[in-house]
């Protein structure tokens, strides 16, 4: 048992120091009927590294990776290149094996990187302040909805039809428990502006997404104006952070709260998690923000340093009056984000965004050239929706036989909503011209 340093002799000597005969004495508070004898049945005993690695490798081997064959799936999780430096940094013992920085004198590494992360997210979204991250984009979205209800003291939330349906579902779940009404607009590939007409003087916030789940980019400024006229907040969602290198950021479209998924920067696909939720808002609403915040201060010798701050909002102080029950941030995923963003800088991010956009434009051009294909997203960044003649699920299965994961079928995200012939495809800097040509060719053969 390689993780246990105590030897049988140590245990004996320690029991003697304590004055106990055996460890069983420590468990005498356990009701007798609940005490177990021996080990739990049906579970194997300990194994060496080699055996465990073989077991896990066998499971891993049953999955098809995004790097095998041609890969075009997006919709909230994106295949990007992560620089080798990033993975090295997050595996530094001092970052990997430390706790929440509650003792700032010996946690300046984590704290300074969080301060830099908050500054990067605020700059990226063109908002005043950002927190130290949420679990992921979807939970950040749900928290934004309840924060808007706290700020406006209203109990109605309106969700656009282009909001990622998982984000919408997570938000509904959180709101339902608190008796907040959720109005869901019908799915729409290019219909974010419908939020304008859905906002009234009972609405706490409208939640729109750009680029939305169908890849469509929209200037949400008219929605913000309509919301503000009614005293409601505008929550602007994005799932692809790389887009912010090119498209108008939430802060410049009048957003009061910007939330997004940061996975694209520094974090691998990981089958959906762990990811990193971004959350930014205006200075005015700063104290209503959920989650951890890192702030600047000085130490006893007058040196600049950083601490977790405004924690009276949080559960460990406020308990039943806290702004949220959240107690974790995305920690190491946040570090991966900030380290990758530091490598990129404005120059690298802009270039990365352009490469993504051009790959998607080329893909759209190539697919448009296939008979029967219709591109549905009028404006897009690195993914778009298109219509195929026939059933998208069947088409994707046939494409897969030709080694092409052709995207995500809209009917998986919006079952029963009449979108059986719609595919959402994504291209990134990882997509080659060869991949694009292969996709178009395969689609031609399938249709």
């Amino acid at each position: 048992m390689r993780y246990l340093p105590l030897t049988p002799e140590d245990r004996k000597a320690m029991l003697a120091t304590i004055g106990a005969k055996s460890v069983d004495e420590f468990y005498t508070d356990v009701p007798e009927a609940a005490r177990l004898d021996g080990t739990i049945e049906g579970l194997p005993d300990h194994q060496g590294e080699l055996a465990v690695e073989r077991h896990m490798a066998a499971l891993a081997g049953k999955n098809r990776t995004a790097s095998e064959g041609r890969f075009f799936a997006g919709c909230g999780a994106y295949k990007h290149h992560v620089p080798a430096t990033v993975d090295h940094i997050i595996q530094r013992s001092e970052f990997l094996t430390t706790y929440t920085p509650y003792q700032p004198e010996i946690a300046q590494g984590t704290l300074q990187s969080l301060f830099e992360f908050q500054s990067q997210v605020a700059a990226l979204t063109a908002m005043d302040v950002a927190n130290a991250s949420m679990y992921d984009g979807s939970t950040a979205c749900a928290e934004a909805a309840i924060m808007a209800c706290r700020v406006t003291k209203r109990r109605r939330v309106v969700l656009s039809g282009g909001l990622h349906p998982h984000y919408a579902a997570a938000t509904r779940t959180v709101c339902e428990a608190q008796g907040i009404e959720v109005v869901q607009l019908k799915p729409g590939i290019d219909d974010e502006l419908a939020l304008k007409d859905a906002v009234d003087d009972k609405t706490s916030c409208v939640i729109g997404q750009s680029p939305n789940v169908f890849g469509t980019v929209t200037d949400l400024s008219p929605v913000s104006e309509a919301a503000h006229e009614q005293g409601a907040l505008m929550v602007s969602v994005f799932t692809e952070t790389v887009s912010l290198g090119m498209v108008t950021p939430p802060g410049e479209m009048g957003a009061d709260i910007a939330v997004g998924e940061g996975q694209s920067i520094g974090n691998p696909l990981n089958f959906g998690g762990p990811y990193v939720g971004l959350f930014a808002t205006t200075k005015k609403n700063m104290r209503q923000m959920p989650g951890r915040l890192c702030g600047e201060t000085e130490d006893a010798d007058g040196q600049r340093g950083f601490v977790l701050t405004l924690s009276t909002r949080e559960q460990h102080i406020r308990r039943d009056k806290a702004t949220s029950n959240i107690c974790t941030n995305a920690g190491l995923c946040t570090l991966a984000f900030t380290a990758h963003m530091t490598l990129l800088g404005d120059k690298g991010l802009t270039q990365l965004a352009e490469l993504n956009h051009e790959a998607a434009c080329q893909l759209a051009d190539a697919l448009e050239g296939v008979d029967g294909v219709e591109i549905l997203s009028p404006r897009f960044f690195n993914e778009f929706a298109f219509r195929v003649p026939g059933n998208a699920e069947a088409v994707l299965a046939q494409l897969d036989e030709k080694d092409v994961i052709g995207g995500v079928r809209a009917s998986r995200l919006f079952p029963g909503k009449g979108m059986d012939d719609v595919i959402i495809a994504c291209a990134t800097e990882c997509t080659t011209e060869d991949d694009i040509a292969a996709y178009a060719q395969a689609l031609k053969e399938v249709l």
Binding site: R287, T309, S311, T312, I317, R318, K321
Partner: protein
């Protein structure tokens, strides 16, 4: 009822608040003892002007780095003024808790609600019991 306080009088509550009544207005804050117990005050959430409160309702929140405490309305009425300076200078609550560190003014509806509140001496004795 409302015109009984022709002279300014200060009362104290068991929740460590002070309330100075004059005419039909009551100015509310927290006591020196409370400010000392809380430690460095970093934020005060004052009520909105126009809010109507009943005696005992949540009126304000005072925060130190490690604690958030609710301040209750010592009298029923309407909030007619709040101390805007606390937003930028919450330290006034520590420096001058019973003057410049006031929280808000309530236009009270029932002067009889001061019955049962303590005067300075009684509050002093009360604090001795708390310590």
């Amino acid at each position: 009822m409302t015109e009984q306080f022709t002279q300014q009088v200060t009362f104290y509550t068991e929740d460590h608040e002070w309330v100075t009544v004059h005419g039909d207005m009551a100015t509310v804050g927290i006591t020196k003892y409370a400010a000392e117990q809380l430690g460095d005050v970093v934020f005060v959430e004052t009520p909105e002007v126009g809010k109507t409160v009943k005696k005992g309702d949540d009126l304000a929140v005072v925060e130190s780095v490690k604690a958030a405490s609710d301040v209750y309305a010592p009298m029923s009425g309407e909030v007619v003024d709040t101390n805007g300076e606390l937003a930028d200078a919450p330290e006034k609550v520590n420096e001058h808790p019973e003057s410049e560190g006031w929280f808000c003014v309530i236009k009270f509806s029932d002067g009889a609600e001061t019955e049962g509140l303590m005067d300075k001496d009684a509050y002093f004795e009360f604090c001795k019991g708390e310590a």
